[in-house]
């Protein structure tokens, strides 16, 4: 298995707007792969297709699974996890509860246990697992806070924690650095590296070119629903198509 994720001839249409046009892409195991492009290029739509949130033509394979046939809620079971551009935290649950829910499918429970107050999130091994994630992301001091009382960057870490606690094979990050200040960005960069070292493959949609050029192993560039370039960071930085798409020389 060389390719963890393989997107074949993906086309997504919204009415008369073609958001993604015959798009192909492969993500190798173990790499940090960045998907970049101007706003409205269709990057998030690619994520949403992977997650079956939109109807699409073409095929998306992850491991041996054809993702079209897998319900969104089962993706976490086969090793996919993601974060969202506008966060999808549970505002009425506190930080530790948010992160615990990342283990939702890993822990077995039944109704009888539930109503007798047996807390699966406190069972053996689970507490340690949660502690490990909290330490990795430096969130230990915030566990009883509700997300909306935390700085935006910390909220993003909580969402990341929820996504990684299930030990995903592939993690999709939608604009992880957007809205972060310089300090937080530096911290985030370290964490993304650590995740890769732990064996998690990362697919990142991001605008912050400095971050992308620094950490990614491979970059795919989209513009206007099409793939316009792909390659190693250095190749991308000197690619004429990319410079045009980014600086907007038509």
């Amino acid at each position: 298995m060389i390719f963890l994720l393989k997107i074949e001839n993906l086309t997504v249409e919204f009415g008369n707007l073609i958001a993604v046009n015959n798009f192909n892409m492969e993500v190798k195991e173990g790499e940090i792969h960045a998907l970049i492009g101007p706003n409205g290029a269709g990057k998030t739509t690619v994520f949403n297709a992977i997650y079956n949130f939109v109807n699409y033509k073409g095929n998306i394979f992850f491991l041996d699974y054809n993702l079209k046939k897998i319900s969104t809620y089962n993706l976490v079971n086969i090793g996919l996890s993601r974060t969202y551009q506008n966060l999808s935290l549970f505002p009425t649950l506190n930080v530790i509860e948010n992160i615990q829910l990342g283990l939702y499918r890993k822990l077995k429970s039944n109704f009888i246990k539930d109503i007798f107050g047996f807390d699966v999130f406190k069972s053996k091994g689970v507490t340690e697992k949660i502690q490990e994630v909290l330490t990795l992301l430096n969130l230990t001091q915030y566990i009883y806070y509700y997300p909306s009382f935390l700085p935006y960057g910390t909220q993003k870490l909580v969402e990341l924690g929820r996504a990684i606690i299930s030990n995903p094979k592939l993690l999709l990050l939608d604009e992880p650095a957007a809205g972060l200040n310089t300090e937080e960005k530096i911290y985030f960069r370290e964490i993304l590296r650590k995740l890769r070292d732990k064996g998690i493959t990362l697919l990142i949609v991001e605008h912050d070119m400095e971050l992308i050029m620094d950490i990614s192993d491979y970059i795919t560039v989209m513009s206007f629903g099409n793939k316009i370039s792909e390659g190693k960071p250095l190749e991308i930085a000197n690619d004429k198509n990319v410079i045009e798409a980014y600086l907007g020389e038509a």
Binding site: N39, M213, A237, A250
Partner: protein, 234 residues
């Protein structure tokens, strides 16, 4: 004509704009550049009265407009064309345009609509179809056309290039330039498409994390290495 001094704006508990000063003079196109989440849209929303500043003063022709409602600000001649279209998809194009000229008199509405449809002829052909049936680029034209209905004296424009093909972007930017030159309409433009924006604007401000890090004449900025670096990371 528009002057912003030491502006601070918060979104809920989070401060998004940390003390910026911006000026737009008569007949000028001024652009604010910066990446996603830098706070560009917040500035425009504050000028048009949707958000209230925490600190700082916004003056229009030497009148403080900090505490005015959006409708009062529109009446003073400031029109904000928001990012993300915000058309009314189930209303017809004609109805969308009528709402753009909400404060105009009946006969003026007609005149202004004729004017707008000569700028964007595609709208004229489909006046009675629903706005939602337009393509992305046509919708962007409708949004700009709708903004022009109110006979603005200052145009605030948020990401007009968003999700448009390079060709359409050029068309729209040319239209803006023409408007600026023929009608002496000052424009405050917020853009991610740095090169295009630098090309058509007289002066630019570069915004990073709610602060202005660079500003000056667009023709000077376009040459600067720092600008390239901000956009390509090299």
């Amino acid at each position: 004509m528009l002057k912003i001094e030491e502006l601070y704006v918060s979104y809920g508990p989070v401060e998004a704009i940390h003390g910026i000063s911006i000026e737009v003079k008569e007949k000028e196109i001024v652009s604010i550049l910066g990446s996603n989440g830098a706070g560009k849209s917040t500035i425009l929303k504050t000028i048009s009265g949707i958000l209230k500043p925490k600190k700082g003063v916004i003056t229009l022709n030497n009148k403080v407009i900090n505490d005015l409602d959006p409708s009062q600000i529109v009446k003073m001649g400031v029109t904000h064309i928001p990012e993300g279209r915000h058309i009314f998809p189930n209303l017809t194009i004609k109805e969308n345009l009528i709402l753009g000229g909400y404060f105009l008199k009946e006969n003026e509405v007609k005149k202004q609509m004729d004017y707008v449809t000569t700028i964007f002829p595609i709208l004229k052909e489909r006046l009675n179809s629903k706005a939602g049936s337009l393509s992305g680029g046509e919708q962007q034209m409708l949004v700009i056309g709708r903004g022009l209905m109110s006979k603005p004296k200052l145009l605030l424009l948020d990401e007009p290039s968003l999700g448009l093909s390079p060709k359409l972007v050029s068309t729209i930017f040319e239209t803006l330039k023409t408007l600026n030159q023929n009608e002496s309409l000052p424009i405050l433009l917020v853009e991610q498409n740095a090169k295009k924006a630098l090309q058509i604007s007289d002066r630019s401000y570069i915004l990073v994390n709610g602060k202005i890090v660079l500003s000056g004449k667009s023709e000077d900025l376009i040459e600067k290495e720092e600008v390239k670096k901000l956009y390509l990371g090299r």
